[in-house]
Every structure is written in C-alpha cells, then in structure tokens.
C-alpha cells in the first residue's frame, strides 16, 4: 500500500512538473502551430499527419524535448479533429478513421443541421481526446506488464471481435454484409503473402505488390458515390440556412455531447484501448465505436444512418482518442502504434530518449508532457474549429457546380498521395464504381471496410498463433473471453432476425416463384468477381491460399443465398393496420448505410448522369496523363462549371486559377510530390517548367 501511495505521489509530481513545463509561452506557441497545421492537413481528404510530421521533424532537432513533442503531437492529435469537416459537409471522409462520421453527419448536413453536426463532432473530438489522454495518464504504471501479456493470439482475438461487428453493421442485410466483409478480407490479401511470398492477385503489377492502400479505397467507396449522387440530384447538399440557426445548431451540438457524455467516455476508451494495441490497424476504430453505440444506445437501430447525432459523437470521440492510445506502445516498447508514431520515434532518439522502462520512470515527466500535449491540442484544435465553423457550415448550401470541382480535385490528389502512383487513381475509380453500385443496390458498405482493415491482421496473427502454439492458444483466458464475446455478437442479431420473421419454418414458407430485377445483376457481378478470385487462388501454395479460399467460399455462399432470397422470397406482407405498421417499423432492422436520395428520378436519368460523372473522372485521368495534374485541375474546373452549370466566366476562371495555384503550393512546393511523367512533357521537354507536366 505504501509503495502504491509513493508511486502515485511520484506520478502526480511528474505530471504537474510536465504541465508547468508545457505552460511556458514558447512551448504553447509550438503546440498551437502544430495544431493549426494538423487541422489544415486534416481537412484535406486523404492526407493525414504522416507527411506533415515527417516534414516538421528536422525543425525539432534544435528544440528542447518538451517543445519538440508539443509541436509534433499538436499536429498529430488534431488531424483527426479536422477530418469530420469534409465528412459532414460533403460525405467525403477526411481521414481513414472518419468514414463512420459520414453515415450520420452527412444526412444531418442534408437536413440543414451541418452546424449542429460539426459542433457535436468538435466537442466529442475534444472530450474523446481528453478522455483518451486521461486513460493513458492513469494506466502508465501497468502499461508494460499489460503489453507484455498481449501476444499474437490476443491480437488475433481482438481482430476477430472487431470483425464480428459486421453483424451489427450489416443492418437489415446480414447476408450481403457478410459477403461484403469477405470481399474486404480478400482485397486485404492482395499483394505479397507474408508466409510464402506468393504474389496474390497482383496481376503482375508492382503497384499491387504491397497491397491496395486504404485511402484511395475509402475515398472511392465512401466519397465518390456521394459526389456522384450530388451530380445526379443536381441540387445543393443542404437547403439554405441563416446565421442564427447555425449558432443555435452549434449550441445544440454542445448540448448533445453533454447529454451523451457516457457514450463519449465509452467510445473514447474503445479508441484509446484499441489504438494502444500495436499491430491492429486503428483505421476501423470509428466503425467499432459506431457499432458499439448502435448496439447499446436506446433506439439507435431505428435512427442510426439517418442523421442521428449520436452516430457522429461515437465515431469522432473514438478517433481522437486513438492518438493518445497509439502513444502507449511507442513509449513503452518503441513499437509505433501508428505511422505518425513511427516518426515520433525518430524524434525520441534525436532527443536521447529511449522508449522502454525509462520513459515510465526516469523520464516520466516527458511522457506526461506528451499526455498533456495531446489533451491540450484537442482543446486548441476544437476551439479553432469552432471559430471557423459558421463559414464551414454554409459551404453545404452552395450549388453543386461550385462544390464538386474543388472537392473532386482534392479527392483525386488525396488518393494519389497514398502511393503517388497511377494505381491509386485506378483504384479510386474502380472502388468508386463499386461503392456507388453498392449504395444504389442497398449493399452495406461498412462491413467491406471492416474486412479490408482487419482481414490482414487476422490472417497474419492466425498463422503466427498456430505456428507457435498449435491450438493451445485458444485456451488462453483473454483469447477465450474475446472469442465468446465475438460469437455472441455474431449470433444474437441472427437469432433475433429469425424470431422476428416468425421462426425458420415461417421463413421457409415465404418463398414464391422467381421474380427478376435489375438489381440482381449486381449480386451476379459480385459472385463472378469472387468466383474469379477463388479460381485464380487455386494453384497457390497451401498456406497462401488457405484463408483466401475459406473466405471466398463463405462470400460465395452468402452472396448466393442473398441472390436466392432476392429471386424467390415473397416481399414482406404489407401491414393492414396502423399498429401493425408501427410494429413492423420497430421490428425491422434499418438499412445500415446511407441510402441514395435519387429515387425520385427515373432509372434512365440516374444511369446517364452517373455515366457522366464517371466519364468526368476518366477524362480527368486522361488529361492528367497528357498535360499533368495541376493544369488538369484548372481545366476541369472550367469545363465542368461551363458545361454543367453555365457559371459566369469570371467566376469560373478565378475558381480554376485559385484551385490550380493552391494545389501547386501545397503539393508541389510544400510536399514535393513526384508527379508521374506526362505525354506533353515527354514530347516537348521545354514545357516541363509548368508544374506537374
């Protein structure tokens, strides 16, 4: 007991020493500088804190460690605060961990509640970030023992528990959800296999060797469909809102967070906890928290995905808590919990700090500086966001001809920034089409992302666990507990669904003669893609094809059953009375994704306008190959605005120039992206003075 008191006293002393050290004006200034950069990088979709941190690193050489970490963590902690802005306003996730924010934030913006959604997002980011930092602060003494206890089998069990969220996130379409998740897992397997080095589904391209990057995929699956529907609908995202209602909405968002403080605490602990486990990607934290809220919050099943502020709160509180969590393995073991943390590790060594036991004792004050920096950065970041929020909220009321060119240009570069290769753009386009078709045909997209992110770690840690322990790892207590939880999570919704439909017998009786619809073509397409992938996998080495074949079979079964259902299932009987209708509304699980609001338009119009949208994208890529990205961005603005909206020339040209110049400054000058060679540049090298040619 005495030892414990002494330890607590020591921790408190170090924590306050760190706090006062950080309060020095020049350190606060560095923290603020980091925050501003983090916010800017966070708002631009696809660009996280990684590049920014790498660039800032050399400037921290000459600083004292407190200032250095204030600057770096200020940047790292606030990129997630800026992420929800494009997610809510345009449906374009600003970072991998903001995709779940789109699901409720974007419908809120459409309803004219952008101000409330943004405010709830900032506030929950702030609170989440602080709760995450608090969790880190109090768990410091037990960090190392806990981390040493978590072996590969535990990581595997955590990943399985994560993927069991598919059951919740599939909503009313469990079969399609499972199929989509399996497709995600299979996409995650693309590339060089860690066991045998077999190049799986790489189609002889170097790009696919390392597997597909998450950013182009996420932007394709979530962002492009929204932008496409915006063009199809030819409207503004939200109807016009006046200043007063924005301020009212902002206040409402703050109140929402206060009312749901317990949800924020839980979600931020999910975020901090998972963020601290090295080897499990933090990119699905938002979905795990979102799924958790969906399972536990009252009435969530009816309103989530339709603009429930709690969806925004769950997602945003978790993803801001993860930076604090990611500090844990970095500090305690030198195993970076995220890519940004890998760079931070570089900063450690420069300042003569060695991750490990010393950081939790001798250098505890520096560790606490980091905790404080993360907490303060969250407060500063949210404050800055509030200051600009009214301007942001009104962006959603602009005409689509004004929104689309800039957002699309930035989405393109965001995707391109992932690998700086043509493959990124091809992946963006391909997954844009797939995402749009999924959305139109009511296939839930979240399970795909879950499978994509967790598939890799499940395969990896399963092989390690089996290779090392045979099957005895299944009896490790934490593993067993997690797996049981996962099983319950998977089975309960299934059983509920069967009971709702009146038991298996009644379900079996509800079949009829086949009916065919156009939307079944997508299921067929899905089956043929998976089938082709499975056939291609057959000749591989046993350990390289084991997981792909198992997952592929599950996907084929689920998609096959779903198709069977679509063809032979009677539509649900129309309710006869009001009470019965209400009953049915409650009983039915919601479709767990955004629905297209283009239903009022005839099929033909939807199809031609969608073709037009993807035509623009292809033309963009074609033009990029010929004259380079920066001139293309300007040209695209001009063509789009003149063709689609007949906007005034002066406006169009100013817009084009501003966009091209900002891309040039940020991406060419500041980030010095290696542009792919262009046709024009090769034919006439003299023109290479034009950036990106």
């Amino acid at each position: 007991m005495e030892a414990f008191t002494a330890e607590a006293a020591f921790m408190a002393t170090m924590a306050s020493k760190a706090f006062f050290a950080l309060m020095e004006p020049h350190r606060l200034m560095f923290l603020g500088l980091g925050c501003i950069m983090g916010l800017v990088l966070g708002i631009v979709p696809g660009i996280g804190g990684l590049t920014g941190t790498a660039m800032l690193l050399p400037f921290t050489f000459a600083m004292d460690p407190y200032s250095a970490f204030a600057l770096l963590l200020g940047l790292g902690a606030t990129t997630a605060t800026g992420d929800p802005i494009p997610a809510i306003l345009f449906g374009v996730p600003g970072g991998a961990a903001s995709a779940a924010t789109v699901l409720d934030g974007f419908p809120m913006a459409k309803r004219g509640e952008a101000g409330r959604a943004l405010s709830a997002a900032y506030m929950s980011s702030l609170m989440g970030g602080i709760f995450g930092a608090m969790l880190l602060a109090v768990s410091i003494p037990i960090l190392r023992p806990v981390m040493l206890y978590l072996g590969s089998p535990e990581l595997l069990a955590f990943s399985i528990l994560g993927i069991s969220m598919v059951a919740v996130l599939s909503g009313s379409a469990p079969l399609r959800g499972v199929a989509a998740a399996c497709l995600g897992v299979m996409i995650a397997m693309i590339g060089s296999d860690p066991q045998t080095g077999t190049l799986r589904w790489t189609m002889d391209s170097l790009y696919l060797w390392d597997g597909l990057r998450l950013t182009p995929l996420l932007l394709g699956i979530f962002a492009l469909p929204e932008l496409c529907d915006l063009l199809i609908g030819r409207t503004t995202i939200s109807k016009s809102i006046d200043k007063a209602s924005i301020y009212k909405g902002q206040w409402q968002g703050v109140k929402d967070c206060m009312e749901n403080w317990w949800l924020i605490v839980r979600c931020s602990w999910i975020g901090g906890g998972i963020g601290s486990i090295p080897g499990i990607s933090a990119s699905v934290i938002d979905w795990l928290a979102y799924g958790h809220a969906l399972k536990t919050e009252k009435g969530a099943r009816e309103t989530f995905g339709k603009g429930d502020v709690r969806g925004v709160i769950a997602s945003e509180s978790s993803n801001n808590a993860k930076e604090g969590g990611a500090l844990v393995p970095t500090i305690a073991f030198g195993v970076p919990g995220s890519a940004t943390m890998a760079i931070l590790l570089g900063a450690f060594l420069i300042h003569g700090l060695v991750p490990g036991p010393d950081m939790l004792h001798k250098n505890l004050d520096i560790t606490y500086t980091m905790v404080w920096s993360v907490a303060l950065a969250n407060i500063l970041g949210a404050g800055l966001c509030y200051a600009f929020s009214p301007q942001f909220a009104r962006l959603a009321t602009l005409r689509y001809t004004l929104i689309l060119p800039a957002v699309m240009g930035v989405v393109y570069i965001g995707a391109f920034e992932a690998n700086r290769s043509w493959g990124d753009l091809v992946a963006l386009l391909a997954f844009g089409v797939v995402g749009w078709l999924m959305k139109q045909n009511k296939w839930p997209r979240p399970p795909l992302v879950l499978g994509l992110v967790l598939g890799d770690s499940i395969e990896r840690y399963m092989f390690i666990s089996v290779e090392r322990y045979g099957f005895s790892w299944l009896w490790r207590p934490v593993v067993a507990a997690l797996l049981i939880l996962a099983l319950i999570g998977l089975l309960r919704p299934l059983l509920q669904d069967i009971r709702r439909q009146g038991g298996l017998a009644k379900m079996a009786a509800s079949f009829q003669a086949p009916t065919f619809k156009l939307s079944q073509l997508f299921t067929l397409f899905f089956i043929s893609v998976i089938g082709t992938m499975v056939i291609a996998a057959l000749p591989w080495h046993f350990s390289a094809k084991l997981v792909p074949l198992v997952v592929g079979t599950v996907a084929l079964t689920a998609a096959g059953l779903s198709l069977f259902n679509e063809v032979f299932r009677k539509p649900e009987t129309s309710p006869s009375g009001l009470s019965e209708q209400a009953q049915q509304e409650i009983g039915r699980a919601i479709h767990m994704d955004l629905t297209s609001d283009t239903d009022h338009l005839p099929m033909r119009v939807v199809a031609t306008r969608a073709a037009r949208f993807f035509g623009y994208l292809i033309a963009f890529m074609g033009s990029m190959a010929v004259i380079g990205l920066i001139p293309t961005a300007g040209l695209f603005v001009v063509i789009f605005m003149r063709l689609e909206g007949q906007e005034r020339w002066t406006l169009t040209l100013t817009y084009a120039a501003v966009l091209a110049i900002s891309i040039y400054l940020v991406f060419d000058r500041f980030m010095s992206i290696p542009w792919p060679p262009t046709l024009l540049g090769q034919l006439i090298p003299a023109l290479k003075f034009i950036p990106s040619v």
Binding site: G151, L206, W209, R460
Partner: protein
C-alpha cells in the same frame, strides 16, 4: 489554300520549331559546365520508402547538406515513393526519371540484390545504375533469449530455436532459412510479423525465443536492458567482416562455421547487402562530369561537420562508401559465377518445416 492545309502547315512549322528548340537544348547541355547546369536547379532524391523510416531519415539528412557541396548549389528535396520493397522507386529511377543528374534515388539494398537472387521480375538492372555512394553499412545479428535452450551457435545446429520473422525477402526470414539450408541449423521460423520491432517485442514477451537478421547498429541504445540484465544476447554475426563491438564480446560469425568454399561464397554473396546498407543511385545515362561532381559532393557531405553533428545527435552511424567503390562492388556481385548464384538461390528457398 484550304483551312485544313493551312492548319497542317502550321502544325508542321510548330513541330519544326519545337524540335529545333529541344535539339538546341540538348546541345547546350553538353557544352555548359556542371556549375552552370546546377545553378538554380532542384535536385530530387526519391526515397523508396514511406516518410519516417530509416532510409527516409538518412536521405533527408543527406538532402539538408548535399546542396552545399554540389557546384552551383542546387536545392535538394526529398520525395517519397514507397512500394514493392523499393523496387518501384528503383524502376522509376532506372527508366522514368530524367537522366540529366537532377534525380537520385535512395533504395533498399534488397532492390540491388533481389534481381540476382529473387525469382520476381523487376523493372531495373542494378548493375547499370550509376552509384552515387552508400551512407553506412550494418552487421546483421542473431539474438536469443537467455532462457532459451540454445546458448551458442553450435547449439543452434542441433537444438530447435523458435525465431520470429517478417515476410519473404526480409533479412529476418532469408538469413535463418539460409543457415538452415546451408549449415543445417535448426531454426523454426514463425513468420508474419510486420517488422523487426514487432519481432523484438515478441521476443521480449517470450512468444519467440530469438530473431536472426536484425542490424546491430543502435541496438545497444534502443534496448539497454538486454545488455544490463543479460536477458537477451547476441548469438552469432551474420556478416562478412563482423563488427568490432561484437568481436570483443566473442560473438562468432557464421563464416567461421562454413565447411567449404562454396558455403563461404554463398554466405558472402547473401551478406553483401549488409555492406551497402543505405545505397544512393543515379539513373544510367547521366553525363559523366555530373556523376563525378555528385559523387564528390556525396563524400564531402558525409564529411561535413554539421552533418556529422546531426547524425551523432540522432545516433546514426555514418560510414560512407564512395560511388566508385560501390559501383565496383555491384559489378563484382553481378559477376558472381552462375553456380554460386544458383546455390544461393537454393539456400534461400524454404524447405517445408516439420
């Protein structure tokens, strides 16, 4: 005259002008001095890894000072192009990047050795690169937990040792597989760890008993408790010459266990990637005067006291090798007799584990 033919003429005339202009530009580039050429230009170093890794940090260290030593003092910037174990960046430097001396590459040693030993086709020929130099060399080591049944390398030849490894092509996989095949070591590989830091963590928590093929540089600084408490110790050096620190600790090199010249040459070939730990390359075809100037600048930069001070602060080893030496080394590697290359390839092929 019809509009069509008028247009045609205009195009032909335009093309003529442009051709002449570009020819003139080409001519000019030969007559101007290196200093004139680099004045006001930007030199790019394309790094074959994502920001933040060791390769990136070395390249940024070099980039901060290289410009001061090149005649004409161009600005030097770093670009990241990760992918395919830096084979993508190597392919870009080899065939796409301008060959005028404004682009250099920082690639993994694997991208130089793999085309010789690996089965996967790549888009570059390492022997045709013009080598700018190499920033440091490293000695790879096997580490083992003190409580493992294997106490020295001789034990490893008769007793099973569970070692953690990353994927195909990583030294943590290639080196133990080679030792199993060549010397009959009994390493049992558990593969799939994302990187060397994850493996060392698994070793610290006892999930694996050891690791074979991680660099010695910085280990003592990163893991002081291994040495203070003796929980984890070096087993054997996987290197041609070895490291003086390890020699003084009486850690043997695997070469001492080679039973014939063939085994020795296979090991030397595979360990050669330790000699050029951080290679920098130029595309084939860069004018000779610029190559010479850049090579000279490279060596001068790594002798610059400001760079050395920064490197010391970061605990980075700097042990530069000149471009000429590096070129000779790669040429020699690629002149390795076919039968040795074949034996090395076989040694790197994993046999099914029991």
């Amino acid at each position: 005259m019809s509009i069509g033919s008028c247009l045609r003429r205009a195009i032909v005339a335009g093309a003529c002008v442009l051709t002449t202009a570009s020819l003139a530009a080409a001519q000019e580039s030969h007559s101007e001095s290196v200093e004139q050429f680099y004045k006001g230009k930007q030199v790019q170093i394309v790094v074959g890894s994502s920001p933040g890794g060791g390769y990136d940090t070395y390249a940024r260290l070099l980039a901060r000072h290289l410009g001061d030593h090149i005649p004409g003092n161009p600005a030097v910037v770093v670009q990241n192009m990760s992918g395919a174990g830096s084979n993508r960046a190597a392919g870009y430097i080899y065939s796409v990047a301008p060959k005028d001396g404004t682009v250099a590459g920082a690639i993994f040693p694997g991208a130089i050795l793999q085309p010789l030993l690996g089965g996967t086709p790549v888009q570059h020929e390492p022997a045709k690169f013009l080598y700018l130099g190499n920033a440091n060399s490293d000695v790879y080591v096997c580490f083992v937990r003190a409580d493992a049944p294997v106490k020295d390398f001789k034990d490893a030849l008769s007793t099973e040792l569970i070692v953690g490894a990353s994927g195909d092509g990583a030294t943590t996989r290639d080196f133990p597989v080679m030792l199993n095949n060549l010397l009959g070591a009994k390493f049992k590989l558990v593969m799939g760890y994302p990187g060397s830091r994850e493996i060392t963590l698994a070793m610290e928590r006892g999930e694996v008993q050891g690791v074979c093929g991680i660099g010695w540089t910085g280990i003592e600084i990163l893991y002081p408790e291994w040495f203070a408490k003796g929980t984890i110790k070096p087993l054997v050096q996987l290197s041609i010459k070895g490291h003086r620190d390890l020699h003084s600790r009486k850690v043997p090199t695997t070469l001492e266990f080679a039973r014939n010249d063939d085994e020795r040459s296979v090991m030397e070939l595979i360990y050669s990637q330790g000699v050029f730990g951080r290679p920098f390359v130029l595309p084939p075809g860069v004018p000779a005067d610029r190559v010479a100037a850049l090579r000279k600048a490279f060596m001068a930069t790594f002798a610059d006291p400001r760079l050395l001070a920064e490197a010391k602060k970061m605990n980075f080893d700097v042990e530069p090798m000149s471009g000429e030496d590096m070129q000779a080394l790669v040429t020699k590697l690629y002149a390795t007799p076919a039968n040795v290359v074949e034996k090395a390839k076989q040694a790197l092929t994993a046999k099914p584990q029991r």
